[in-house]
Each structure stands twice: as structure tokens, then as C-alpha cells.
């Protein structure tokens, strides 16, 4: 009893202090106390929960028990070696229809045409594809384009950037709706409930589904998007807005993997590294190259060598496009070309962000001159047909072959493509990089203000192991600071973690993740859509504000009460007993304040609302932390 009281005291002071440190104006006392807490051990039970909270996207029912059985140390070791873990076959089945994820940028461009692409086909610069659904969508849009062109010929005048689509123009479908569907089915399509429509689509063969969707008018098709199963939704996207299919696939996959993968740490690391090497989906061609980017440049290296990861991102079409390096050329390239009114030149965007965000960090010791010199080194690192999904190639004609000096090191003239490689070598082995990466990892996995002692240990491992991420993680995961009261429950979940951990805690079954992805957006973290190369914040304070908190509470109730489309929760599973329900969902005893809040809600209930207790736990202050 005494130990529990002591524990309760320690726990609440930890949360108080950790949170207070954010708003604290008198650092000295708190800092000393904080330092002590990072040396103070966790109990065995706390270790189990802490391991799950930090190395996964949150415990599912039964996870605490199985980690206990295996032993924390062994379990951590396993997660650090994901190739030893057998993947969840259900997950693989769910990922199967999301075919854009398996495509190269070129394949994605061919399958999911952008408006510019459709223009090219209409103008005969590109052939019409064979796939019937794709063909129908292109033909339909082309028809509109011709329609629009007729109008424009009438009003000779202002030029626009591309074909504007007249929403009223429709192409005649090959088969009308009443030729595809039976009378009963027609009735459902015209006036049935969303659930009835969903069931109808679930029972159709792919061919009939295609014909039905082609026969529907565009607005009616659009209304079906939140209702229909994944395969149907993808078809609708193909018909209505082809270039958005990739976005849907990316979001679906990211949510599904985080929720259902057995290789949880690998998924957490994927999220971490993608964010570190952020790409913004809505920058033109990036939408076709992000699946390739994540699949080829990030995922294979998440626990591998940093230098490999760095090089893979540097050569990836997505990065070359996002940070403009594909257009960066030697400044004198057009000096003697009188026919060119617009002279091409150096573009420093990638050079700067490579140092500021990817490696050294903004205080890592580089200057503006270094930025320019690095940009010169990377001239010639470009793309074949950047807007049509082309791949990386090095073009020496564009390269600035003069001598450069980067961070005090001379890169001799005539180095060609090697200049860029040398820069990557310099940056990947720089002490500032070791420190910057280690600190970022510690902020994600330990606490917003990780102890210097830990960061230094990790940085030392980084340098000694030549940037071996797994070894750096091992240093962190065997440190006293990680398994300490200072780290325990110190992090607030970001929106993605909040949504995923809720679904996992409830043991929910996800058939498609579309609605969940929208929730992550609503909570403040639109996935793949962070515009700035800085990526999303790893810090608590950036996620805790009224709009976000309100969204979390609303989400919690909606999810637990089984009102989230595409997700099945059994609301009665956790029962009506606040204490027991909370313990199961949180993996630990809920705070008295949360328990009282739940009791209050129950006492005011006129009739039972299934899932209310679970919803209140998921939306509670306790559940916001990990």
C-alpha cells in the first residue's frame, strides 16, 4: 500500500514537473529535480508499459501480458531486428489493393494522369492507355476539355494555365445504369441507406463495380466516397480525380501499417525518418514519386546506416523535385547563349536544407558560403523528364566543375558526380550531425528536453559506428535515462499517435482507414502534407491547444461509440466499470481525476450509451500521454 502511495506521488510529481517545465520561468530548481528523475528507475510494470508506449504506436489488448512473458529486454531486441518478426498476414491482404504504392514514379504517372498529362494525350503527344477505367476517365475529361475549348474559341482573350473543367459536361457512359443494375439494386442506389449501398458494392464483381461507377453521374459518385469499400473508392478516384488515388493509397497504408504491423518499431522509425526527410505531397510531381520515395529511400534504411539513408534521399526523384535540385545548374551555363532570355543558374534550396534540416542542424556550424558551395557540388544531380515520373541521373553538362570548399574541406576541381558524394561523406560523419540526429531521436523517444548525458552517449555511438542507426537506438534503449521516471509518460501523443493508439487500445477492426486519416488531419497533422521541409514537430507543446484538444475529445467519443466509418469497435468490450475499463485501455491505473470525471458522466446518463466509458478514457488527459 505504501509503495503504491509513493508511486502515485512520484508519478503525479513527474507529470506535474514534466509539464511544468514547459511553462516554467525559474529553471534552476526544476532542472536539478528533472536531472534526478532521469536517473530514477522504473518499476518492472512501468518498464513494460514504457517499452510499448515508446517502441510501438500504443499497446493493444494483450500486449502488456505478452511483453511481460517474453521479457522486456528480449522484446526490445526483437523490435530492433524487424526482419526476425513475421508480419501480420491480414495487413498484407489489406495493403494488396493499394497498387500505386508498388509503382515507380513513371508507372504512377501513367496510371493516374494529372491534368497536364491529359492535355498531352488530348494533343496527341502521348498515347491513350488500355485500362478501361483509366481510359474512361481520360476520355471523359478530354471531352470536357474539348467542350471548354469550344467556349474559349468564342471568347477570344485571356489565356489560362490549363484546361478548366466544366462540371456540367458529362461523357455518355457505354452502359446506362439501368442496363448494369437490377431494379432492386437501382432502388438502393437511388434511395438506400449508406450501409445498404456499401453492402451492395461489397458484393459486386470488379467489372460490375466499374460499369456501375462509370454509369453514375460524377456528383453521385463523389457522394459514395466515404461509404464504399476501398476498391470502389479507388475506382471513383480514378474516374473523378485520378491524381488523388496515390494520396489515398499512401494514407490508407500509413494508418493500416501503424495499426496492424507486427514490426512496430520499424513503422515508428519510418514515420520518424520520413518526417526528418520531409516531402510535401502537393508539390506537383511529388505526388507520383512519394510512394517510390518511402518504399525505396526510407523504409529499407530505417535502422540501417545513416550515410545510406542520406544518399538514397539525395538521389530520390521526390527529394530532387521537392527541394528543386533537379533544376540547379552551374551559374555560367547560359553565359554565352544569347538566344536565352532567361538564364538558368544555381538553386540553393537543397544545399541549405541538406545541412540545416537533414544533417548538421541550424547551429551545426555552416555558413551561407557553405550553402552556395554545397549547391555547386550538387549541380548535375537531376531527373529525366521530371514532370513525367523520370528517374535520377547525373548530367555532367549541368555540373559546376570548379574547386569548392565545404566546411573547410577542399573539394578539388573536376570531381564531377563525386563532389556530391564527398559532401554526403563529410556531412554523414560530422560531429554536429551525430549530435543533431541523436537529439532528434531522443526528443521523439525519450522526452522533449532529453538529458545531455544521453544525447552525448548516442552521438558518440553514432560517430564510432559510422552512423549505424540501430546501434544508436541500442545505446538509447539500454540507457538509464530511457528507463527512468523522467522519461515515463513525458511525451504527449501527436495527432497520428493519438489516432493510431486509440484504435489499437480499443482492439478495433479497420477495414479502411479513410475516415481515420481525416481525423489525423483534423487533429492538426495532415499526413504527407507538411509544406515546409522541417516536417512536423516532435515537441509536446506544439500539439496541445484548444482546437486540437477539442478534436481529440470528439474523436475519442466517436470512435469508442462505434461511429467511425471503416472501423468496427465493440463498445461493450470494456464495460461500464470506469476503473477496470481505464486500466485495460491505459495499461495502468487511471488518475483519480479521470476516474471521477467518468463517474460524473455515468451518473448523469439517462440511458446507457455503449462505449461512453471507453470514449471518456480515450479522450482523457491520461490517454494523451505516452
Amino acid at each position: 500500500m505504501r509503495n503504491r502511495l509513493l508511486l502515485g506521488f512520484v508519478l503525479s510529481s513527474v507529470t506535474l514537473l514534466t509539464a511544468a517545465a514547459e511553462k516554467s520561468k525559474k529553471p534552476s530548481n526544476d532542472a536539478a529535480l528533472q536531472a534526478k528523475l532521469f536517473q530514477k528507475k522504473l518499476t518492472n510494470d512501468q518498464q513494460v508499459l514504457h517499452a510499448l508506449d515508446r517502441l510501438t504506436f500504443g499497446p493493444r489488448p494483450g500486449d502488456v501480458e505478452s511483453v511481460k512473458r517474453m521479457g522486456v529486454k528480449k522484446w526490445v531486441e526483437l523490435q530492433l531486428n524487424p526482419e526476425r518478426i513475421r508480419e501480420n498476414p491480414d495487413l498484407d491482404a489489406k495493403l494488396e489493393p493499394l497498387e500505386s504504392l508498388r509503382m515507380t514514379p513513371l508507372e504512377a504517372v501513367q496510371h493516374y494522369p494529372s491534368p497536364q498529362m491529359i492535355l498531352a494525350i488530348a494533343q496527341g503527344r502521348q498515347p491513350m492507355p488500355d485500362d478501361p477505367v483509366l481510359r474512361a476517365s481520360i476520355e471523359r475529361i478530354m471531352h470536357r476539355f474539348k467542350f471548354q475549348q469550344k467556349i474559349e474559341k468564342k471568347n477570344s482573350g485571356s489565356q489560362t494555365g490549363g484546361p478548366a473543367f466544366d462540371p456540367n459536361a458529362e461523357l455518355e457512359p457505354a452502359k446506362r445504369l439501368n442496363e448494369v443494375l437490377t431494379p432492386d439494386e437501382l432502388l438502393i442506389m437511388k434511395g438506400g441507406s449508406p450501409e445498404q449501398k456499401r453492402v451492395l458494392f461489397e458484393h459486386m464483381t470488379p467489372e460490375r463495380m466499374d460499369e456501375t461507377l462509370i454509369a453514375l453521374p460524377r456528383p453521385q459518385r463523389q457522394q459514395l466516397v466515404p461509404i464504399v469499400p476501398t476498391a470502389a473508392r479507388r475506382t471513383i478516384m480514378l474516374l473523378n480525380a485520378p491524381q488523388q488515388v496515390v494520396a489515398f493509397d499512401l494514407l490508407d497504408a500509413k494508418l493500416l501499417r501503424a495499426i496492424e504491423s507486427n514490426r512496430q518499431l520499424a513503422e515508428v522509425m519510418d514515420d520518424f525518418w520520413f518526417n526528418h526527410f520531409n516531402i510535401f505531397y502537393d508539390k506537383a510531381s511529388d505526388r507520383f514519386s512519394i510512394p517510390d520515395y518511402e518504399r525505396q529511400a526510407i523504409r529499407p534504411y530505417v535502422l540501417g546506416r545513416f550515410r545510406d539513408l542520406l544518399e538514397a534521399t539525395a538521389k530520390s526523384p521526390a527529394m530532387l523535385f521537392y527541394l528543386d535540385n533537379f533544376q540547379s545548374v552551374r551559374p555560367d551555363i547560359d553565359a554565352h547563349d544569347k538566344s536565352r532570355k532567361v538564364k538558368r543558374g544555381l538553386n540553393e534550396n537543397y544545399g541549405r536544407e541538406l545541412m540545416e534540416l537533414h544533417t548538421l542542424g541550424v547551429n551545426g556550424g555552416y555558413t551561407q558560403k557553405d550553402v552556395t558551395e554545397v549547391a555547386r557540388c550538387f549541380t548535375g544531380w537531376t531527373l529525366f523528364e521530371p514532370r513525367r515520373g523520370g528517374g535520377f541521373f547525373y548530367n555532367d553538362r549541368l555540373h559546376d566543375n570548379g574547386e569548392k570548399i565545404v566546411l573547410g574541406q577542399v573539394i578539388p576541381a573536376g570531381g564531377g558526380m563525386d563532389d556530391g558524394e564527398k559532401v554526403l561523406d563529410i556531412l554523414a560523419t560530422h560531429p554536429s550531425t551525430a549530435h543533431f540526429i541523436s537529439k532528434e531521436l531522443a526528443q521523439r523517444f525519450v522526452a522533449d528536453n532529453p538529458p545531455d548525458s544521453l544525447v552525448e552517449k548516442m552521438a558518440a555511438t553514432f560517430l564510432k559506428s559510422d552512423g549505424d542507426i540501430r546501434q544508436v537506438m541500442e545505446t538509447m534503449l539500454t540507457s538509464r535515462e530511457f528507463w527512468s521516471q523522467g522519461a515515463y509518460q513525458a511525451k504527449v501523443k501527436n495527432p497520428f499517435e493519438m489516432v493510431v493508439s486509440s484504435v489499437r487500445a480499443l482492439g478495433a477492426n479497420v477495414s479502411d482507414a479513410f475516415a481515420l486519416a481525416n481525423q489525423v488531419d483534423h487533429l492538426g497533422e495532415p499526413l504527407y502534407r507538411k509544406l515546409e521541409p522541417t516536417g512536423y514537430s516532435n515537441l509536446n507543446s506544439d500539439w496541445v491547444n484548444s482546437a486540437a484538444l477539442l478534436a481529440r475529445m470528439n474523436f475519442a467519443l466517436q470512435l469508442a461509440e462505434n461511429h467511425m466509418p471503416g472501423v468496427k469497435v465493440d463498445p461493450s468490450r470494456f464495460g461500464d466499470q470506469p476503473v477496470a475499463a481505464a486500466k485495460t485501455l491505459l495499461g495502468r491505473t487511471a488518475s483519480p481525476q479521470t476516474q471521477n470525471g467518468i463517474q460524473k458522466a455515468l451518473s448523469e446518463q439517462k440511458q446507457k450509451t455503449p462505449g461512453l466509458v471507453a470514449g471518456l478514457v480515450i479522450g482523457s488527459p491520461d490517454f494523451q500521454r505516452r
Binding site: A19, Q327, N347, L550, Q593, A601, T609
Partner: protein, 412 residues
């Protein structure tokens, strides 16, 4: 009848509980200060990504401008749509900002040129941080200038005194005074009534300091929103906000202002200004800059129109973390620069003029040989608004470390 004191934030809502706040309370208590003077409202807009000020407000009378920008320069004004809109014979507006010309002509829009932060950083992240904190060069500042600008309250403090539009609480508005992030006024509530009181109790009493603070602000704001949510909103005077997030943010702010719920400072941002490539494509009215400026100009003009007479109490100021290179780059774009442009719009603004000291664009006049030189510190502009519009004279506390703050005569 309970005394006015009893309705201080916190205790008032405990008496009435969730969902039963009387309408008269939300309006009259916050609408005016003691003495009846209606509160002034300051709205700060951040153009994230470093907008190209030289193409937003074109120094068309500078021949050097056209030498430096042979393909993306905006042509001299000649009355046709694809040219700059003449302001004063030297400067012109980008044609996509046409909706703002009437505001300039009626003297409610002032422009400041060659203005910005003196810090040399060209990192978006750092520069935004410095501008939002109001302390260029200092990383240790944890709050924002707008939060420090709020004067000491005399009377009940509205839970929506300081509002940031969007799903994230902007740096500018964070600090000691409570500030709320709001996405949409009509959705600002717990949708399921069964959960409302349970959550409220938890967040009111939790020992988790960070979540407790935000929780309390959230529930106080929810109660206030209930009175606003009862009526749907139609913009006045035929104002039409364009589609998109920025137009929506300004509309929400207008709604809050008209609801008289004690709003004093509001913040919204608009991104997409980082035009390294295709800033200007085939014509001035095409390309990324034109698209953004269209949305920007239309939204501000709609806001002005929507507020009508209330604009007398409101001032809007726009800013961006730094400007862009004077010279175009090889990609029909520009790279990170230095000095930029700010707009100040409102009832007490002495508009119809371009303020600042134009430094010129000759090679030797450019900052580091590449950017527009700074001649006005952004804190001069903000400081004048804080002192004269909001009425907080304590500028040393709002902009610590800034010694030579100088008013530029923007407000009458």
C-alpha cells in the same frame, strides 16, 4: 442579482455549467471596457514562406528592377490587366491585388516597404521564429509578441481574447495570457452531449499542468461559442470571401468580432509563398505568386467589406519572415532574401501611402549584393500598432532588447 464580480471567468461557468450560459452574459460583459470605450482589435496575418515583396509592391519607376527581373518583372502600369496597378507614380500593386486598390484609394490601406527583421538568417524556420517571438536573433524566447502586447485586463477576461485560426496555436500568440486555437466557430463544441460534463470535470481537475491549462481554456471558449453558434453567419454588405483556408480564417475572425465576445487579438496565416520556381509563368496573372495574391487580396477586401463600420475598431497587419532576392534565379523564381513589404489596414490607419525609406536596387545598394536592404525594422510597425491601436505603451516589455523603436506615423 449576482454582482459583476461573480461572473469572472471560472466561477461564472461553474455556476451556470455547460450549455446554460445566458446570452446577455457573453455579449455585454466582454464587449466594452469600463468607461464604455469599445475594445480595439488587432489582426496579424503571417505570409509563411517569404513572400516576394518586390513583386507584391512593384517599384516600377526603378529601371534596375527590370534589369534584375527580365522574365518575372511585372510590367509598368498602363491601365491594362497584365501590368502593375499604379499607387503613387513609383510603386504599383501586383495586378492580382486589384481588390485592395479601393482600400488604398480610400486611405484605409497603408504599405510599408523595405521593412523586416534585421537578423541575417535566411532559414524559414528561424526567421519565422524570430518574427513571431518579436525578438530577432534570440532563440530562448518562448512566447510571442502578440501575447505580450495584450494590456493588463481591467474587468472580466474573455476566454477568446486571443485567438489563432487553424488547428495549431501560432507561436505569435502563445504566452502567459490564455490564447485559443480555433478551426471553425460552429464546430467548437463536444458533439456528444453525454461526454461533455465528464471531460470538463477531468480537464478541470487533472494534475497534468499542460493539459489542465489548455483544457480549461477549451471549455471556457466552448461555452462562449455556444451563444455564437445559435445564429448562422452571412457576411454583410455583399462581401464574398474566396474559397480556401485563408478566406475562411478571415471570415471566422469577422464573425468573432461582430459577436462582441471580447476578442482583442487574432492571428491567421497563409502559406505557399516560397516561390523558388515558377513564381511568374506566362504572364503576371499566372504562376504561384499570382494565385496566392488573388486569394490574399480577395480575402482581405472581403473582410474589410464584411466588417463595414466595425472596421473603425480594427487594424490588420501583414508580414512575412523575409523577402526574396532582387535578381530572379534560373527557374522563373527567386531565392531567400532580406527586406520585404508589410500592409496595414484599418479604421485608424493613415492609408493611401507607401511608407519607409526606399534604398534603391543598384548593386552597391543591395544587401550582400543580392537582396533588398532593410530600412525599417518590423517592430517599428508592430510597436506603433501595439502602443496606439491596442493601447499598450509598454513597448520595452513587448519587444525586449529593441532600443530604437520609432513610430512611422501609420496611425492617425
Amino acid at each position: 442579482m449576482p454582482s459583476r464580480r461573480a461572473f469572472l471567468k471560472g466561477s461564472a461557468f461553474a455556476i451556470f455549467g455547460v450549455g446554460s450560459m445566458p446570452e446577455w452574459l457573453s455579449r455585454s460583459v466582454y464587449a466594452s471596457e469600463l468607461g464604455g470605450r469599445r475594445k480595439k482589435i488587432l489582426v496579424a496575418i503571417f505570409q509563411r514562406g517569404a513572400v516576394d515583396g518586390l513583386n507584391m509592391v512593384i517599384p516600377f519607376a526603378e529601371p534596375r528592377y527590370y534589369e534584375l527581373r527580365p522574365s518575372i518583372g511585372i510590367p509598368k502600369p498602363d491601365g491594362t490587366p497584365q501590368t502593375a496597378i499604379d499607387l503613387d507614380g513609383f510603386f504599383g500593386l501586383h495586378p492580382s491585388l486589384a481588390p485592395l486598390k479601393p482600400l488604398y484609394d480610400s486611405r484605409h490601406l497603408a504599405i510599408v516597404d523595405a521593412v523586416g527583421s534585421p537578423d541575417p538568417t535566411r532559414s524559414h524556420f528561424d526567421a519565422q521564429d524570430y518574427m513571431e517571438s518579436g525578438t530577432p536573433g534570440l532563440k530562448a524566447t518562448t512566447d510571442g509578441w502578440m501575447n505580450r502586447a495584450l494590456p493588463k485586463a481591467n474587468g472580466p477576461v474573455s476566454p477568446v481574447r486571443a485567438v489563432s485560426l487553424g488547428a495549431n496555436l501560432a507561436r505569435t500568440i502563445r504566452g502567459r495570457n490564455d490564447a485559443v486555437a480555433i478551426n471553425n466557430l460552429s464546430d467548437f463544441k463536444i458533439a456528444d452531449p453525454h461526454g461533455a460534463s465528464g471531460f470538463e470535470s477531468m480537464y478541470e481537475s487533472t494534475l497534468d499542468t499542460m493539459l489542465h491549462g489548455t483544457g480549461r481554456e477549451t471549455f471556457d471558449a466552448i461555452k462562449l461559442m455556444q451563444s455564437i453558434q445559435k445564429q448562422s453567419y452571412t457576411p454583410a454588405n455583399g462581401a464574398k470571401y474566396p474559397g480556401g483556408g485563408f478566406g475562411n480564417s478571415l471570415q471566422q475572425i469577422a464573425r468573432l468580432i461582430k459577436a462582441d465576445v471580447g476578442l482583442e487579438v487574432a492571428f491567421a496565416d497563409i502559406g505557399g509563398w516560397d516561390t523558388h520556381v515558377n513564381e511568374v509563368t506566362a504572364q503576371p496573372s499566372t504562376g504561384q505568386l499570382a494565385n496566392n495574391l488573388s486569394q490574399f487580396g480577395q480575402s482581405l477586401a472581403a473582410f474589410y467589406q464584411d466588417l463595414g463600420d466595425r472596421m473603425a475598431d480594427v487594424a490588420v497587419v501583414t508580414m512575412s519572415e523575409f523577402g526574396r532576392t532582387a535578381r530572379e534565379n534560373g527557374d522563373r523564381g527567386t531565392d531567400h532574401g532580406h527586406a520585404n513589404v508589410m500592409f496595414v489596414m484599418g479604421g485608424d490607419v493613415r492609408g493611401g501611402k507607401v511608407y519607409g525609406e526606399w534604398p534603391g536596387l543598384a548593386e552597391e545598394q543591395l544587401y550582400e549584393g543580392r537582396d533588398l536592404t532593410l530600412t525599417t525594422d518590423f517592430r517599428d510597425v508592430l510597436g506603433e500598432l501595439v502602443a496606439k491601436h491596442i493601447g499598450n505603451p509598454n513597448l520595452k516589455a513587448v519587444f525586449p532588447g529593441y532600443q530604437d523603436l520609432k513610430f512611422r506615423g501609420l496611425l492617425g
